[in-house]
């Protein structure tokens, strides 16, 4: 597994974790707010661990990889970049991403690189709870029109999270037909806006320790 591939997963987790942390304090219930925040923290934690692996190979640090690249150099999927501050889309994305990530992690756990395989196993153990949470909500919302629309809307983006050979498995698990994916190689304006806010303090005094 090369550093660029690690970065796509790390960037997915960072950007999704950033998006999920936007719900802190304003989730539909206080109990859910606390639960969803743990998920956001785990995603950032996974991003950090992946960046650290990539940083060792690239001769830099996790923070520099997370914050100091140009927005066009991020390898995140378009699914995670979208700003969807409504619960139906948030849960639809959460459900789709966790299902895709399960497939991706299963492959990573078989990696020849022991460090990658080991990290994938650890991440998978934490993700177990994310999947339980996502399924719990998806089951509860399955008849809700808002949720169904959100799932259909986000479906092409969800396919873009995975490598082409993994997409059939995702289609089977979600129960939607495989269709044209929105690929990873483009970024919308939303990533740029996110990056501006994410890096504004860090950029204010370059090179400083925080």
């Amino acid at each position: 597994m090369n550093a660029q591939e690690l970065l796509s997963i790390a960037d997915d987790e960072l950007i999704l974790g950033w998006r999920d942390s936007e719900w802190t304090g304003i989730a539909p219930s206080l109990e859910e707010d606390v639960a969803f925040s743990s998920i956001a923290q785990n995603e950032i934690g996974h991003a950090r661990a992946l960046y650290e692996l990539a940083a060792a190979a690239l001769g830099t640090t996790a923070d520099e990889l997370a914050f100091d690249r140009d927005p066009s150099d991020y390898r995140s999927s378009q699914l995670v970049e979208q700003r969807r501050m409504d619960w139906a889309h948030t849960i639809a994305r959460h459900y789709l991403y966790e299902t895709a990530d399960e497939i991706r992690l299963a492959a990573l756990k078989e990696s020849d690189d022991a460090a990658v395989a080991g990290l994938a196993a650890k991440m998978d153990r934490e993700e177990q709870y994310h999947r339980l949470h996502a399924r719990m909500w998806a089951e509860r919302l399955k008849d809700e029109p808002r949720f169904k629309e959100a799932l259909e809307e986000l479906w092409p983006y969800a396919l873009g999270v995975l490598a082409p050979e993994q997409r059939a498995a995702l289609a089977e698990r979600v129960g939607l037909p495989e269709t044209q994916a929105v690929e990873r190689d483009g970024h919308s304006d939303e990533l740029g806006e996110l990056w501006e806010e994410m890096t504004m303090v860090r950029r204010s005094i370059p090179g400083a320790t925080w």
């Binding site: 109990e31 859910e32 606390v34 639960a35 339980l132 949470h133 719990m136 509860r140």
Partner: protein, 93 residues
């Protein structure tokens, strides 16, 4: 629905009442309790119970001096002193 949460701090410890969460089902209550009472690994186990399943008992009658089945019902000092004196084994204590 309100679910009461009991937590066990470490293996072998008693489960103690920790608080309550509002949830529509037991599944949601478990997820919520796990985070509210275990996200720092501060508990090794939780019991999550619908509040309606808990029966409170708060009144007890204790009217007719039942010291016979408590430690404070047995004062043996005087009898022991007498017995030792009788046996000639009393010493200054």
């Amino acid at each position: 629905m309100i679910f009461e949460v009991f937590r066990q701090e470490k293996k072998g410890a008693a489960f103690a009442h920790a608080g309550s969460v509002s949830a529509p089902t037991a599944e949601f209550a478990e997820a919520f309790a796990r985070e509210q009472y275990g996200r720092r690994q501060e508990s090794v186990a939780l019991w999550v119970v619908p509040r309606g399943e808990i029966h409170a008992v708060t009144d007890f009658a204790d009217e007719l001096n039942k010291t016979y089945h408590r430690v404070d019902g047995y004062s043996l000092k005087a009898k022991l002193k007498e017995a030792r004196e009788r046996a000639g084994t009393a010493v200054d204590r």
